[in-house]
């Protein structure tokens, strides 16, 4: 606690020190009357103590929304998003992933969640004017091993996915060098990874995207059904670290989540997020949902979509909730070059059969 920083009479500072207060946190957590009693200062003196300690703790003064939208405070409002590398998907997300905050991608197995994540790991490496963040990505695997072959395929096919970019730009990127892969076999390893190794990469500016694939695997396997409280506590601690890293370094965090089956009908004790008629809901309950800023669900549909004589099973990417997006969805397919959204007006690409 830097006592000299405080704009206070030395007499007051002496009284506060004498009462054994060592940090700003301790002072702010004590109420006015309690502080009066402990330091024997008067009411106005105590108010002055609280105000000057608060002024030191406060990181930045209030700014207006006009300043934010004009891009005058990049720390609070980045003014750009992380592109999905597909104009249809970016349109659904009004530009792409928000720079700060946790985005969740939930879906059944084989829905294509890992494909999305790999695509983002490549997209982040382009310069900001091309929708990237000019930096690398950390990919934390908790389920299967990292799909390195698929990543190599995506890298060679980048010119096909991004025809809008000059080939020289794509060739100049050393994609594999900038993707840091971590495997976490249990919760302890996961915790160590995000609290020790990931911050180092972020601090050095080597990465600006964090992918956790998946969040559900370890939390669902290591806790029994009746250990909900402990699971919540660990989940909150974990998401708190992710949240702080995301906001401090301006790095989007993407968490892949599994889904649970909905066996009974509507249950007042469980939140459905307005997903009526869905047979699955994102896992980890409301404790996790409260930490997530943007929730996306990916569903694999029946039928086929065609593109240049290639075919793929269609997927539906739906925005379940986001502060800046309406509840909308779009269709997409998974091709050799990556995930591509299907524009609404392209009727011959509509899938046969429904979800």
């Amino acid at each position: 606690m830097e006592w000299e920083q405080l704009d206070l009479n030395p007499r007051i500072i002496a009284a506060v020190k004498k009462a054994n207060f060592r940090s700003a946190k301790e002072i702010l957590c004590v109420s006015g009357p309690d502080l009066q009693r402990l330091t024997r200062l008067s009411k106005t003196d105590v108010q002055r103590v609280h105000c000057s300690v608060a002024a030191v703790v406060r990181k930045s003064k209030p700014v207006t929304a006009l300043q934010l939208i004009r891009g005058e405070c990049p720390v609070l409002e980045a003014g750009h998003r992380l592109s999905f590398a597909c104009p249809v998907l970016d349109g659904l997300m009004r530009g792409g992933l928000p720079i700060r905050g946790i985005t969740e991608l939930a879906g059944e197995s084989a829905a294509g969640k890992t494909q999305f994540c790999l695509q983002l790991c490549l997209s982040v490496q382009y310069p900001q004017e091309n929708g990237g963040l000019n930096s690398g990505a950390v990919y934390i695997c908790t389920e299967d091993s990292f799909p390195i072959k698929r990543l190599r395929q995506l890298i060679t096919q980048q010119p096909q996915l991004r025809p809008d970019l000059p080939p020289a730009l794509i060739r100049s990127r050393r994609f594999s060098d900038n993707i840091y892969i971590e495997h976490a076999v249990d919760l302890e390893a996961l915790q160590a990874c995000v609290s020790q190794r990931v911050p180092v990469l972020l601090k050095r500016g080597l990465v600006r995207l964090l992918v956790v694939d998946s969040v559900a695997a370890l939390f669902r396997s290591e806790f029994q059904a009746d250990e909900a409280v402990q699971r919540s506590r660990h989940l909150l601690a974990f998401s708190n670290i992710l949240h702080h890293l995301s906001h401090e370094y301006g790095a989007p965090v993407v968490c892949v989540n599994q889904v649970t089956d909905v066996v009974d009908g509507p249950n007042p004790g469980r939140c459905d997020y307005g997903l009526v008629g869905s047979k699955v809901l994102p896992a980890l309950g409301i404790a996790w949902a409260n930490q997530v800023m943007v929730r996306l669900m990916l569903r694999r549909l029946a039928g086929q979509v065609q593109s240049d004589s290639r075919s793929s099973a269609p997927r539906k990417l739906e925005v379940v909730f986001a502060p800046h997006l309406p509840r909308a969805s779009c269709l997409c397919g998974v091709w050799e070059e990556g995930v591509r959204g299907i524009p609404d007006d392209n009727s011959d690409l509509q899938p046969q059969g429904s979800s």
Binding site: L28, L66, N240, H247, V276, A289, N290, M293
Partner: protein
């Protein structure tokens, strides 16, 4: 003024000197000059000045209270009605709340993720700025964001929609004149944002609120979105959390009454298991339920979004339906129209959404 010298907030050695000099009651000291006190009590001139300062600081609230006359209930009613309320642009919710979110009180909005708490808060931050001639308060707003979910793009959309709404309602010259100044830029410039990353920063911000409010006396709304987020982890000592939350609630209600503002807090939901059944209840514990004056719970019922007024000293419990459109927080499309004699802003042309509901597109 019957305070005895020993009960004053002074150093004990000081009190001993004063008592030895014959001062028993605080009123003995009030008329003393510093030099006089210095000679009589045998203390230095600096200390004498300080003693008198302490006396004055502590004495004032008592004197003020004695000076104000007692108010009749009718006076209080007039005062409350004069304070006004902030419309939400959802006429059903405004009716249930008795006009809108009340100024001078704290309102808590609870709900699951994605149901619309942040949307309602952003809408209120825009609506508080509606000019007085349109039935609004013409005030500014302070938005304290603890989750990082304040995205200015969305607020700009809502501001645009609000300006259009007022444009359609403008009837007389006074309103048209006010409209000329009501632009999206002006609305955004009157909305202040602070981001708090943990509960210590939030506590600090609330201690700094009185200074902020005296610098910006036109602020009529303070939003904390959400108050639950920073308090729901790394608190081993739950009793400390309860104490801090209670302290915050008290400070906020004091600010709400002293500065005539509406304080809106958002809270998360959590699962509570009782008798083998699980229910969704507001987070932060039982004692937090007493903190806010009014409590609004937003929840899903199938595809419908409902708002229930759960606790209010003046309004009846009610549940109404609302929707979130591109323009913001609005009435659900099949709600009955408002009566013609309600305020100009929530007029029958309240729901301008000619565009299809986004929910229908998926």
């Amino acid at each position: 003024m019957h305070r005895t010298v020993p009960s004053l907030p002074l150093a004990p050695s000081m009190k001993v000197k004063l008592i030895n000099a014959g001062f028993q009651v605080a009123s003995d000291l009030t008329d003393m000059r510093p030099l006089q006190l210095c000679k009589e009590a045998g203390i230095s001139q600096e200390e004498a000045v300080e003693v008198l300062q302490v006396l004055r600081d502590d004495g004032q609230p008592h004197q003020q209270r004695a000076a104000t006359e007692s108010l009749t209930a009718l006076d209080l009613l007039h005062q409350e009605q004069a304070l006004g309320s902030i419309v939400t642009f959802c006429s059903a919710l405004d009716d249930a709340l008795g006009g809108g979110v009340p100024v001078g009180k704290t309102t808590e909005i609870c709900g699951s993720p994605g149901v619309g708490k942040t949307q309602l808060c952003m809408q209120l931050a825009v609506d508080v700025q509606i000019p007085v001639c349109f039935g609004g308060l013409g005030g500014k707003a302070l938005y304290i964001d603890t989750e990082g979910s304040f995205l200015v793009q969305r607020v700009a959309d809502m501001a645009e929609a609000a300006v259009q709404h007022c444009t359609l309602l403008a009837e007389d010259t006074e309103q048209r004149q006010a409209l000329e100044e009501l632009t999206v830029e002006k609305i955004l410039s009157n909305l202040f944002l602070v981001r708090c990353h943990d509960y210590v920063e939030l506590l600090a911000e609330v201690y700094l609120l009185p200074d902020f409010l005296s610098e910006h006396p036109e602020v009529r709304l303070v939003v904390i979105d959400s108050i639950a987020f920073p308090f729901r982890h790394d608190f081993e000592d739950l009793s400390q959390r309860t104490r801090l939350l209670n302290g915050l609630a008290q400070q906020l209600i004091q600010l709400a009454t002293q500065h005539s503002l509406a304080v809106v807090l958002t809270n998360q939901m959590t699962t509570r298991v009782s008798n083998g059944q699980s229910k969704l209840v507001p987070a932060l514990g039982e004692s937090w339920g007493h903190a806010a004056t009014q409590r609004l719970i937003l929840h899903w019922e199938g595809l419908r979004r409902l708002a229930s007024l759960y606790k209010s000293p003046s309004q009846m419990e009610a549940t109404i339906q609302y929707q979130i459109t591109v323009q913001g927080f609005r009435d659900a499309p099949d709600e009955p129209r408002t009566t013609p004699d309600s305020s100009a802003v929530s007029s029958p042309s309240g729901n301008h959404s000619k565009r299809p509901r986004m929910e229908d597109l998926s």
